[in-house]
């Protein structure tokens, strides 16, 4: 019986396991389905990681390396090349791999850190033929950066999420011609700095409020058709542009990979597509915690590390000192807010303040983030600009929740 089993050895799992060790757990197992630890960081060879966490600018593999080094100084056990098939509500973890075959391990606590996967062509239903040459941006990233294959020479990118933007630069540096980046929304889904250093640096045009309306080609992509869309995101006839290209990369969103979570009986949030969590990243099933992109999709790995550290510490607390107690207050997303993490807070379990992470559902100028209980305002936070592509976070002093029962709401007021 392990004190803790961590499912996934990416940035979330690594930080969670290290934190659990630091907080006193001594029998911890990480199960990772890939050959190496590090997860998606291994293919994110660009820099910009670690500015908050390590106060320096690292590439993805270097960021992973720092945590792998830290882990190697602990007694945490690691099984790579091993896939978790099931986590039961009574914390049995079913796993299989070529070395040990099918195994069932029992644990006193489990941290789910499986990350997320990309949405595909099927998820957005692009009309046209079904030739080779349509890749998700992350798959292309793995081909180029890990396997050493360039998936195409003339490229159109649909979606302006960060991976798409990063791949626009990467493909250009490797000698491909990136013709356009096409975004259905009137704003980019990626970080502003990536628009600058990945598109503008290489004069790659960004078409906002446009989408791909047809893929042409029999065996291989030959052309894609791009059209403007109206406010309802419907293509506008007569606005078609045809690009001669051999490759279409899709950067159209990420989905937390929560099949195991659901089967463990954990309550899921349709807004985040991840587990409903308390302030310490505990789920609705006692002893099961989740952190990182499987909980909600982050922009920055630094925040994944911070969140996962809290999950690791909380799992240690749970095993060594028993379940967290106290009534909970629900967090609701009000005007302008798409979701909040956590979704529930137990004031008794918070020392000074708790952080609330959320995204806005459109671009806001100068505004205030307001937290209220019914009509009573608890606190407000000023911001110069809010954008859906950039996750926000506020620290709410727990003493403000005195006398609050039921729920609080986080909302945006433009000023």
């Amino acid at each position: 019986m392990y004190e803790l089993i961590v499912v996934g050895g990416g940035p979330a799992g690594l930080a969670a396991a290290c934190a659990a060790w630091e907080n006193g757990l001594r029998s911890i197992l990480i199960v990772e389905r890939d050959r190496d630890l590090g997860g998606i960081l291994n293919q994110c060879i660009h820099n910009g990681f670690g500015l908050t966490w390590f106060k320096e600018e690292l590439t993805g593999p270097e960021y992973a390396h720092r945590f792998i080094e830290m882990l190697s100084k602990t007694g945490v056990e690691v099984r790579t090349d091993t896939m978790v098939l099931d986590v039961t509500p009574d914390l049995q973890v079913h796993m299989t791999g070529p070395a040990a075959g099918y195994k069932i391990e029992r644990a006193k606590s489990v941290i789910l850190a499986m990350g997320c996967r990309e949405r595909t062509r099927g998820a957005i239903g692009i009309p046209g033929t079904r030739p080779a040459g349509v890749y998700t941006a992350g798959a292309a990233q793995r081909y180029v950066n890990v396997e050493g294959w360039l998936p195409g020479k003339r490229v159109v990118i649909l979606g302006s999420g960060d991976i798409g933007l990063i791949m626009a630069r990467r493909m250009t540096l490797e000698g491909a011609k990136v013709l356009a980046c096409v975004e259905v929304m009137p704003y980019s889904g990626g970080l502003t700095r990536n628009i600058v250093q990945c598109l503008q640096d290489f004069d790659i045009p960004l078409y906002l409020s446009h989408t791909v309306t047809e893929i042409r080609g029999r065996d291989r992509v030959e052309q894609v058709v791009v059209s403007a869309v109206d406010e309802g995101r419907r293509p506008v006839p007569g606005t078609e542009m045809v690009f001669d290209c051999d490759t279409l990369l899709l950067s159209v969103g990420l989905i937390p990979e929560n099949e195991l979570t659901g089967r463990a009986g954990v309550e899921l949030d349709p807004r985040t597509k991840g587990a409903v969590v308390y302030e310490n990243m505990e789920t609705s099933v006692p002893g099961i915690f989740t952190c990182g992109n499987v909980t909600h999709v982050h922009d920055l790995v630094d925040f994944v590390s911070a969140e996962s550290q809290r999950a690791g510490a909380a799992a240690a607390n749970y095993v060594l000192r028993g379940p967290a107690a106290g009534e909970s207050v629900a967090l609701k997303n009000g005007f302008g807010v798409s979701y909040t993490v956590p979704q529930r807070v137990r004031p008794q379990n918070v020392e000074k303040s708790f952080n609330v992470f959320f995204r806005v559902n459109r671009i806001f100028g100068k505004s205030e983030i307001v937290v209220r209980a019914g009509e009573r305002e608890l606190c407000r936070f000023k911001r110069d600009r809010l954008a859906p592509g950039e996750m926000e976070n506020i620290a709410v002093p727990v003493k403000l929740l005195e006398g609050v029962a039921g729920e609080i709401t986080v909302e945006i007021r433009e000023v």
Binding site: I45, H46, G60, G148, L173, E174, T192, R193, R385
Partner: protein, 113 residues
């Protein structure tokens, strides 16, 4: 007056720079330094991969240890493309001592045992 978006960190400050290179709108001093450099001699860190033999993958990620002049980015890519390493490789190991006369080294970014 030039408008500039800072790329130093994910915050992405919207900055204004006047003709005397006075910077406003930056959250931290690194933004001001970036804005001045960007308008006088822009630089970038280049990240890419080199071939590697004897490792579990055929490519090893590398980066320039410091920013290089922006106009040399494609020259640096070409120099990186001519390198083949053999495993084992340590993080931070020098791959090219001085790339394209920039005085900047290219170093390995992943442990490849």
């Amino acid at each position: 007056m030039r408008e500039l978006i800072c790329i130093v960190c994910p915050r992405g400050c919207h900055m204004q720079v006047d003709d005397g290179l006075n910077v406003t709108g930056n959250f931290c001093p690194r933004g001001a330094a970036y804005a001045k450099a960007e308008l006088t001699h822009p630089t970038r860190v280049v990240t890419s991969t080199v071939r590697i033999t004897g490792a579990s993958y055929p490519r090893c990620p590398v980066k320039t240890a410091a920013p290089v002049p922006k106009e040399k980015v494609f020259d640096v890519m070409e120099a990186i493309g001519r390198v083949t390493l053999s495993a084992p490789v340590k993080v931070g190991q020098t791959v090219i001592g001085d790339v394209c006369g920039t005085g900047v080294a290219v170093v390995a970014a992943r442990e490849m045992p």
